[in-house]
Symmetry: C2
Subunit: 342 residues, 2 copies
DNA sequence: CTGAAAGCGCTAACAA
DNA sequence: TTGTTAGCGCTTTCAG
């Protein structure tokens, strides 16, 4: 259509003043109905769209939210992002997405950049590195500057803000029970999540289940790793030297990964060895056999986190910060359906 | 740290004028080296960060790019987005991500919103609906307004702008040949991509390969679908009524989907029926057997698209629009390694 | 080399 | 009910 048009130009065309037009378009009741009608008609005709920058400068509101996620290739975060996007759009917000790629430095840089006027608030899931370093000063700075933050999934007690998480401990406990109930005797836990709060909680939940059910006759085994290809060798060795008939994975990919390794070694799933994992992603649904998993309601979690932030942005509610814990559910599939041995 | 500080406040503190400070911080050579040093020191001490909105208002540059993708749950787009993000970050840009969810309306709305001052340009892959409607006026409006667009993957001839694509026709031809060389005789093509340029090109490439190799003794069969669960029934019926020993899929998920269906019907892959597909995603690498695919270099494509846009933004180069065609490669895996029958 | 002043496009207090 | 005016924080002439 026509070139971008400004209020000033509309003023010339319409013979009204800039402020009258501004008020008319925002339905300010200082303006008569008839003038409003006229002005709106002209604005529509010229396809007027208020300039976001100018409005932002004035109102100190950008109507955009900064989203910082560790990565986008994991189906988990893609789903959360999808949920965030849905919710945010409903309220007329936009998201600026930054991918920290698990790097503390990148996380800090992105946040500093966005904090200087580009966004009204943040949704963030911490990078592994930040959690390892235990350094959250960048986030606390942002909060001091008056920008609200809502953390999801990977959170920290050192940052006082709203949080949305799942009951990781309990979920891990429950999913471990699935294997125990399927009469697995030697269950190990594998995880690429390392020192994250999420990884730790899940490891603890798993360990507790093992201790409770086996009365300490069997010790929990937690295998953390960072590199999939190296882990392949480690795990293979472990499986050769130890009896393992069940594996709990803290994420989807490592579950699939381990299962494929087992299959390639000629083991039968679930009869020789059974598998359970976290995240109902595209992988677990389409693996062979399909994987029994903890459904984390990622989309819901994303939505909830976004809604929480927006509520705080709009209500300016000074009420207490909350930590909302979403319940998970278990989706039973063939990877864990072991026949119970008498 | 401290509250957000403005140039004006720095002026008071430093006893210099606002304009001197502004110049000093941008290394303008009107300012003496010594003054620059002083001012920069003070700015750093107070952690001064220029306000993005104000700067944007003045300079008409936002240093952010609007990215419109059809969805984020497909690994293909996640990888492209990841590439875009990497490239953009290098040049100090940010991305505002909008997910059209294959809806024309949402695509239009997002673009209109962002076009009014929020972004300097767009990276877009068209929604299915836009391609079906063949309606691109929103994009042409944007271009008329002086905002450059780079289209990737799902593009259209009706929009004159830079484009980055892969050689879909040829890739489909080549991947079909893989099955033919594996002595498959009855190869069908399945696709959820419908009327998109990409879907059409791939279907044509497949068809051409069939016609060329079988001298019209066998007719190509193209099965388009929109809904996976309905398609499950259709495909199953088709496989029962027809002899099929090879399937070419236009995307990763439908390939996995069809392969699982075949396996569940007791067919052996690749001996009874072989599979090839597009996209080297997390699914194809981890399926059982792993899937032979066309590697589309998604990350590279994202990077290239972003680089192209940024170049245009920075150089204001009025040179001809280009269509860059990325070559693909085939990654051979077990799903297609059929023994050649004599 | 430094500063005063105009203005980007918009909103809103204050006048008329 | 409408218009005038003063900024939001920054960049950029143009004067000094």
């Amino acid at each position: 259509m026509s070139k971008k048009i400004t209020l000033k130009e509309l003023a010339i065309i319409s013979k009204f003043s800039v402020s009258t037009i501004s008020k008319a378009l925002s339905d300010n009741n200082e303006i008569s109905t008839i003038t409003k009608k006229k002005i709106k008609a002209i604005a529509r005709k010229h396809n007027y769209k208020p300039n976001a920058m100018a409005r932002g400068l004035k109102s100190k509101k950008t109507k955009t939210i900064g989203v910082i996620i560790p990565n986008i290739l994991t189906h988990y975060f893609a789903k959360v992002l999808s949920g965030i996007e849905q919710e945010v759009t409903k309220s007329g917000y936009n998201i600026i997405t930054c991918i920290s790629n698990e790097s503390h430095k990148k996380e800090v840089k992105s946040i500093e950049l966005l904090a200087s006027g580009s966004v009204d608030g943040f949704l963030i899931s911490l990078s592994k590195e930040s959690q390892k370093k235990n350094d959250y000063s960048h986030l606390n700075d942002v909060i001091e500057n008056g920008l609200p933050i809502v953390m999801f999934d990977r959170t920290s007690n050192e940052v006082v803000c709203d949080k949305v998480i799942i009951n990781d401990f309990e979920s891990a406990y429950n999913i471990t029970e699935v294997l125990i109930d399927a009469s697995c005797k030697n269950i190990i836990y594998i995880s690429p999540l390392g020192d994250t709060n999420v990884g730790t909680e899940r490891a603890n939940g798993y360990s507790k289940a093992i201790e409770d059910k086996f009365n300490n006759s069997t010790k929990p085994v937690v295998l953390n790793f960072t590199d999939y290809s190296k882990f392949s060798i480690e795990l293979e060795e472990y499986l050769e030297k130890n009896v393992v008939d069940g594996i709990v994975s803290s994420n989807e990919l490592s579950g699939i990964f381990a299962m494929n390794l087992a299959i390639s070694k000629g083991l039968k799933v679930p009869d020789d060895i059974a598998f359970v994992a976290f995240t109902d992603g595209i992988l677990s649904r389409n693996s062979n056999p399909p994987l029994t998993i903890v459904n984390q309601n990622e989309t819901e979690l994303g939505r909830l986190a976004a809604a929480t932030l927006i509520k705080r942005l709009e209500k300016k509610s000074d009420n207490q910060f909350t930590t909302q814990i979403l319940n998970t559910s278990i989706i039973h599939r063939k990877s864990s359906k072991k026949n119970i041995l008498i």
